[in-house]
């Protein structure tokens, strides 16, 4: 069945089963492989995308339910208000080990600082609690989100 999606600001037409999770539409139909598969059950967060600004697990989102809501993937993160800032902060804090969880972590972080511009540690932990990192770089990710959320502070003294 044909669907028109809005992916990273552009209309994309796909022809696939309405039950196909958005994750596989992105990865296999549109070859947007930045969004990752880790579990298929919404347990690991690797597939996190933004749908109208909210963090959603693409592996649990059937194609037929997406409609023309704005979907933002890691490939489109730069176009969001804090996207580049977040990526720069992650790079500064050297968050990546294997790197596989990073896209999902970034998307969850983007959703967080959109609604909570100055999250404290507890808020970051809560928002990213569904993003697993097997390599264990959580502390760096948390610092990166903090750094990004304070990047516009005139008073911030970033090293």
């Amino acid at each position: 069945m044909k669907y028109r999606l809005t992916i990273n600001g552009r209309p994309r037409d796909v022809d696939a089963d309405r039950d196909m999770p958005l994750l596989w539409v992105l990865r296999d139909v549109l070859s947007l492989t930045g969004t990752k598969y880790g579990c298929g059950q919404g347990l690991c967060g690797a597939c996190t995308v933004l749908v109208d600004g909210s963090a959603r697990r693409a592996c649990l989102l059937p194609l037929g339910s997406v409609g023309e809501r704005a979907v933002v993937t890691i490939e489109g993160l730069d176009a969001t208000a804090k996207g580049s800032t977040l990526k720069a902060a992650f790079a500064e804090e050297r968050t990546s080990q294997c790197g596989y969880c990073q896209a999902g972590q970034l998307m969850s972080a983007a959703a967080l600082i959109e609604r909570t511009p100055r999250p404290d540690d507890a808020a970051i932990d809560a928002a990213l609690s569904g993003n697993l990192c097997r390599c264990g770089t959580y502390a760096r990710i948390r610092r990166a989100v903090k750094r990004a959320s304070r990047a516009d502070d005139a008073a911030t003294n970033l090293p």
Partner: protein, 731 residues
């Protein structure tokens, strides 16, 4: 201190490095920049336009060895780190063996490849010296340029690429001195950071080729189950499903997308004859490990006085005074976030495979055999891996992808779902350890009988490896090099072969098992004899040790370095001062001798009834030269989380021959909110760089368990901690 070059490393080097005198003989597919390029060996290419590329044979899975290799090459050559581009080496003969494991990438690279790079540098200098008619010693090399300061002449490496190509490769070029390091010990970041954060880095699962189709494989959930029947028509009726491929007792469902392939597989409704292996469960494994008559006891190490070859102990057994302790280490999943996968294309008598494959050359060999192709017609390309921790040592998924592709047209990506990955992957083997500490009447002498039973990984994967010692030598790592100087020591191993459960090495291999058991046992013995555990360790770490770890390879344990990390961890954690009725610091250390890295952990916990709070973890490492310092810290940090996760919740349940859980709901991993405060200290050292993928892990668990006991919590001898304790919020 000169590090001994082990025979293992030499063999790998000879196999891997054609050290030809005529540079022209090494032209090959890397000749894509034209004849003017300088290729002194199979790995390094310096083009006329001064672009430098180096073929790396290692699989990057998060241990950040690519950056370390980049730094070592850059420094030895005389270029900036970002002037050196790494390219992954596929399994072409000229590159020799392509394999990653054992945490030895950086130690081996340091020993074996610096001379190759230094030779290239010397050849460029010689070419410039010839042209400029100056002495080579007057030429300085920096930023991929050559400078003759006296005359003001300078040139880029590329300007002398052609000239250098005509020179002989020197046999024994001088290596850079530490004072000349600009990247080693200083480099940070990684070349692919931006790509990863942009979602552009290509992990195995991201490989995309024109006309790529996707497959999942229906295999028996019990080892060696036979496929009785399946509903091909129902599977083929699923939209998106193209065709089925039948392998031995397995069916591949091939579709235009991964999800349709998975749906098609569900419709197969495969029926199995599970066979005899359906009888195995956790209890049957535990029983075999506990049954001293199930297998032969083999001597691993014996120290002390012997009479006619039999250990004549100075310290008599005394049931009243002996301390007998038993520890059990369960199975565990690797649970890397990227499940295994491989993409294969077979056409015109050639097979190409792409994937997060650690043992590419071994995969090439097996695929060639299974497909009936000459090895030269099979090429395996190693991609970035989304974690491995040992999972991607296995070859099965790569071979399966090739087999499937050999029966269809066009490229196919075989994807393992999370459930497939956990159901079919080899797990960390279970073990059981028994310590019998004996003390002399006056307490001055200590004897240890250390017996352990191990489910053997090599018994399943390569029985020829059992011939060397008569037992699985990998299961002795961590026991054979036990660093403590007991007056009498007898270490014995008993293997059990369990065909019903697939085993694989897990990050740190059996060192985790021995470190857990022996570091906890030592603490218990200290408590039993009323001695401080740190004092006991320092008292027993009095002499260096040299033992055979890998076959025909000797590894050193330097007591001073192990004492050093232990003392530092104790100091930084306030080991002596942090002690209350319900709070304490526990210590543990481990020497990963075959890659000469020394680690200690000090874990500060508070226990309140059944709740444990991890206040802080201090992690100290002496890895010799820290090539990329922050990546060393990162490995230490990550290992703490990995180790605590395993101690707390790591387990595998086997019911009727099938492994559970199969997804993260039942396989609990530590989350951001549960991350304790981790303080890492890297000891400054000029020793050769050690390995860092695995060495930071083994001492995490026992340090935590020792802390629990010292803080008034339970003494855990059988992992995982599980429901016995709840992890509280961090202080």
């Amino acid at each position: 201190m000169q590090q001994r070059i082990s025979r293992r490393l030499v063999i790998k080097a000879v196999a891997g490095t054609p050290f030809c005198l005529a540079a022209a003989a090494l032209a090959g597919p890397d000749g894509d920049r034209g004849d003017a390029a300088f290729r002194p060996n199979a790995y390094l290419t310096i083009a006329a336009d001064n672009t430098i590329s180096f073929r790396v044979k290692k699989c990057e899975m998060g241990q950040q060895i690519h950056r370390a290799i980049q730094a070592i090459v850059a420094d030895e050559l005389g270029a900036d780190i970002d002037q050196v581009s790494l390219r992954q080496a596929p399994t072409l003969e000229k590159f020799g063996r392509v394999a990653t494991g054992g945490s030895y990438a950086v130690p081996a690279f340091w020993q074996l490849y610096r001379p190759l790079i230094a030779a290239a540098r010397e050849m460029l200098v010689a070419a410039a010296a010839q042209e400029w008619r100056v002495a080579g010693g007057e030429i300085v090399v920096r930023h991929a340029r050559l400078y003759h300061e006296a005359s003001g002449r300078e040139a880029a490496f590329g300007d002398f690429a052609a000239a250098a190509s005509g020179l002989e490769v020197p046999d024994d070029p001088p290596l850079r001195r530490p004072s000349e390091y600009r990247a080693v010990g200083k480099a940070s970041g990684r070349a692919d950071a931006a790509a990863i954060l942009a979602g552009e880095a290509v992990f195995g699962i991201d490989v995309r080729l024109p006309n790529l189709r996707f497959a999942v494989l229906e295999k028996s959930p019990v080892v060696a189950g036979r496929l009785k029947r399946y509903d091909a028509d129902a599977a083929l009726a699923v939209p998106g499903v193209d065709e089925l491929v039948k392998l031995d007792d397995a069916v591949a469902v091939i579709a235009t997308d991964s999800w349709s392939a998975m749906r098609g597989r569900e419709r197969l409704a495969a029926e199995w004859d599970f066979g005899e292996h359906a009888r195995v469960d956790n209890e049957s494994l535990r029983s075999r490990l506990a049954d001293g008559n199930d297998g032969d006891w083999m001597a691993v190490r014996t120290e002390g006085d012997t009479v006619n070859g039999d250990l004549e102990s100075n310290v008599e057994r005394d049931p009243e005074r002996d301390l007998i302790l038993t520890y059990e280490m369960p199975m565990a999943q690797h649970a890397a976030l990227e499940p295994v996968n491989a993409t294969a294309l077979v056409e015109d008598g050639r097979c190409s495979v792409w994937g997060p494959i650690q043992m590419a050359s071994d995969a090439q060999r097996q695929i060639a055999t299974r497909l009936g192709l000459p090895e030269a017609q099979v090429t395996v390309h190693t991609t970035l891996a989304g974690g491995s921790f040992g999972r991607k040592l296995e070859l099965g998924f790569a071979v399966e992808a090739a087999l499937i592709a050999s029966k269809v047209t066009g490229p196919v990506q075989l994807l393992y779902s999370r459930e497939d990955d956990m159901m079919h992957g080899g797990v960390r083997p279970p073990t059981r350890h028994e310590f019998r500490f004996r003390t002399s009447d006056d307490g001055s002498r200590i004897a240890l009988d250390y017996d352990y039973a191990a489910a053997s990984a090599y018994a399943q994967q390569d029985r020829s490896q059992l011939a060397h010692k008569g037992y699985d030598w990998t299961a002795a790592l961590g026991a054979v090099d036990l660093p403590y100087a007991f007056d009498d020591l007898r270490i014995r191993q008993r293997d059990i072969d369990v065909p019903a459960v697939p085993f694989n090495w897990w990050r740190g291999t059996y060192r985790n098992h021995h470190a857990f058991a022996s570091e906890c046992a030592l603490d218990e013995f200290a408590e039993h004899t009323d001695e401080d555990p740190l004092a006991l360790r320092l008292r027993l770490l009095t002499r260096d040790l040299t033992v055979e770890t890998f076959p025909n390879e000797l590894s050193d344990v330097q007591a001073e370095r192990l004492r050093g990390v232990l003392v530092e961890a104790a100091k930084r954690s306030g080991y002596d001062s942090v002690r209350g009725a319900s709070r304490a610091v526990g210590l543990a250390c481990h020497c990963y001798s075959d890659v000469h890295t020394y680690v200690a952990h000090a874990v500060d916990v508070s226990v309140d009834g059944r709740q444990v709070t991890i206040n802080k973890v201090v992690a100290v490492v002496d890895c010799g030269i820290a090539v990329v310092p922050d990546s060393i810290v990162a490995q230490m940090e990550g290992s703490v989380i990995f180790g605590l996760t395993s101690a707390l919740w790591g387990d595998v349940e086997i019911h009727e021959g099938q492994k559970w859980p199969r997804n993260f709901a039942g396989c609990r991993l530590m989350r951001m909110s549960e991350t304790p405060d981790i303080d890492v200290h890297v000891i400054a050292s000029a020793a050769s760089p050690g390995g860092m993928g695995e060495p930071p892990l083994p001492s995490v668990t026992p340090a935590f368990l020792n802390a629990l006991a010292r803080a008034g919590g339970p003494r855990i001898r059988r992992l995982p901690v599980g429901d016995r304790l709840k992890l509280g919020a961090n202080a």
